[in-house]
């Protein structure tokens, strides 16, 4: 793991990634912009602070986007890292391309086909167990959605991972407090506290600001390391673009030309202010 994680650089990267997603959104009618923006810093930290590069340019560690509708975040990062060719991203969701709205195993850098919720944590646990059984030095990172936490299969995996002593498994919950029909904490008023629930199941679990890259890095690096780690990351759906925040319609809609310009301007503004 990198001890010298450059937070300013991470912020610049994440703004560039958001702009790239907006750019792609202008080519297709529907794209999960807001759910991609909420997990941006999380996935950036996973790839840039923790995932070790393999000799072939891919990765020695594994990442699974269990909330498959957040895959646009993964695509733009894989593109930036040279794993996913730009022409593939430019042909996103078109007959000439290979990339769809959910991850598809077989595409560069994609470790699991998700999209249906509640699958990724079990698959990740199986990978992590197999790695340990075979003596592979590999970590498996998973990003989960908060709506996804309502799937019973998640809790089956939550129960199993500590049984299997999977200290090589790290799960990030993108807790943006929105799901299909409204706020997660209104759909399930007892959704929180989450970390306590995970701790009681045998995980090491902490709360962290999901847009604070330094805090995310610290949370992983400061773990005790004996149990699977679960980070409840407080995030904002649509983070980075004011009109997408707290507006459920942006779960699955592409901005029109005017909205696109405004979003770009907001992301540029932030950059000039902090630069």
């Amino acid at each position: 793991m990198q001890n010298s994680f450059d937070v300013k650089l991470a912020q610049r990267r994440c703004r560039a990634y958001r702009r790239r997603i907006l750019e792609i959104s202008q080519k297709v009618t529907a794209l999960h912009v807001a759910p991609a923006f909420s997990c941006m810093e999380i996935v950036d930290v996973i790839y840039h602070a923790f995932m070790r590069r393999a000799e072939n340019g891919w990765f020695d560690d594994a990442f699974i986007m269990s909330k498959g509708h957040g895959v646009m975040t993964q695509y733009v990062i894989l593109e930036d890292l040279g794993v996913l060719p730009a022409e593939q991203l430019n042909s996103y969701c078109t007959p000439s391309g290979k990339l769809g709205a959910h991850p598809d195993l077989g595409n560069p850098g994609i470790e699991a086909s998700t999209g249906s919720l509640g699958h990724g944590l079990s698959i990740a646990a199986g990978m992590a167990y197999a790695d340990r059984l075979q003596g592979f030095d590999r970590k498996t990172f998973v990003v989960l959605g908060d709506g996804e936490m309502q799937e019973g299969s998640i809790w089956e995996a939550v129960m199993m991972a500590p049984n299997l002593k999977l200290d090589n498994l790290v799960a990030f919950l993108d807790f943006n407090d929105y799901q299909g029909l409204g706020r997660t904490t209104e759909t399930h008023p007892h959704f929180l506290p989450m970390s306590e629930k995970l701790c009681s199941f045998g995980w090491e679990a902490v709360d962290v600001d999901g847009h604070d890259s330094a805090a995310l890095v610290d949370a992983v690096q400061n773990r005790t390391g004996e149990r699977p780690l679960f980070l409840t990351c407080r995030t904002v759906k649509g983070k980075g673009v004011s009109y997408m925040i707290d507006a459920p319609i942006w779960h699955y809609r592409s901005p029109n030309k005017q909205e696109y310009e405004q979003a770009l301007a907001e992301l540029e503004d932030v950059e000039s202010v902090s630069a």
């Binding site: 699991a112 698959i123 990978m127 992590a128 197999a130 199993m160």
Partner: protein, 317 residues
């Protein structure tokens, strides 16, 4: 069957460190208990949690292992069906899902424990193979193939325990993807899979007594990919073909054979016996429940116009 599965798995697992068994609170005794003792890291019990059983197997297969998921057929297929579809089939991973008690084996446990539609569900999945051996020897051969050669998701549908040997004198060897003639005859042919192949053999005996012509009996152990050429050949070389299956008619072997009969322009008589399209609230032995569904040698022989009186000495050889 489950004991032969267990002993074969132990034998193969002792040699191949990639073999892992993941069970959901149900485990064959005997050799798997010994496997658990000898290779504790390759025996995982998820408890009463079938979805994670399949998901774990998917992740392990992606990392080069050859997992087998094992529990009662209803729970290995119906409960985690979407995990089987997405994790195993969509990703095309070499995981074997074992269903013990296929059909209405667990007769007295009621409809919740009857896998009457599992073959239809599993054969409809792309990339999935479906294998239903008829006796312990076929179970061993199927397990060996699944553990050593199979590269895709597969469903192994087993009975329970105590099934008789049916294939020691079979005409054909056991080859995955090939219809296996157990007896070669003419005139009438029986196609079946699983332990009800025993009924096909009993009915074939009756046919032989009545007509003087030995009937053909074949084990359609590989239901997917089905040996369409082999079935077409049987359809086109016999006057009457009878399908017997411990499964509902929708999406079972019978409906596939009818499709093949149409495609191959077969002109034989074709008769299919299957489980009824209903939940029968009846608590008796496996044989008695099958009979309630119309799957009994007496009912089928009557339906086929065979004389039951000659059957008594044949039963339970």
């Amino acid at each position: 069957m489950r004991n032969r599965f267990a002993s074969t798995f132990y034998e193969l697992g002792a040699e191949d460190p990639r073999l892992v068994i993941v069970v959901a609170d149900i485990s064959p005794a005997g050799s798997i208990a010994k496997f658990r003792e000898d290779f504790p890291n390759r025996f995982i019990n998820t408890g009463v949690a079938e979805q994670v059983m399949i998901g774990l197997c998917a992740g392990m297969a992606q990392r080069g292992l050859r997992p087998f998921a094992y529990t009662i057929a209803t729970f290995s297929v119906f409960r985690p069906y979407e995990m089987i579809r997405d994790d195993l089939c969509y990703q095309d991973l070499p995981v074997t899902v074992v269903g013990i008690g296929g059909g209405v084996t667990y007769s007295t446990l009621g409809g919740t424990h009857h896998a009457m539609e599992d073959v239809a569900l599993m054969t409809s999945l792309p990339n999935m193979s479906v294998i239903a051996p008829c006796d312990p020897a076929e179970t061993a051969a199927a397990t060996r193939w699944l553990a050593t050669q199979n590269q895709h998701p597969a469903y192994l549908r087993l009975g329970k325990a105590g099934e008789p040997d049916l294939t020691s004198n079979a005409v054909d060897p056991f080859v995955i993807g090939k219809l296996r003639r157990i007896r070669e005859g003419k005139g009438t042919a029986f196609l079946a899979y699983g332990p009800v192949v025993k009924m096909a053999l009993d009915l074939a005996d009756l046919v032989g007594v009545q007509t003087g012509l030995p009937a053909t009996v074949a084990s359609a152990h590989t239901i997917k990919p089905l040996d369409a050429d082999g079935i077409a050949s049987i359809l086109c070389s016999h006057d009457r073909v009878v399908v017997i299956e411990e499964h509902v008619s929708h999406g079972g072997l019978g409906s596939r054979v009818k499709e093949i009969a149409w495609d191959s322009r077969a002109s034989c008589d074709l008769r299919c016996f299957s489980l009824r399209d209903e939940f029968i609230h009846f608590y008796g032995s496996h044989e008695e429940l099958l009979a309630e569904h119309g799957l009994g040698v007496p009912q089928m022989s009557a339906a086929l116009g065979l004389q039951r009186s000659h059957a008594s000495h044949i039963d339970r050889a």
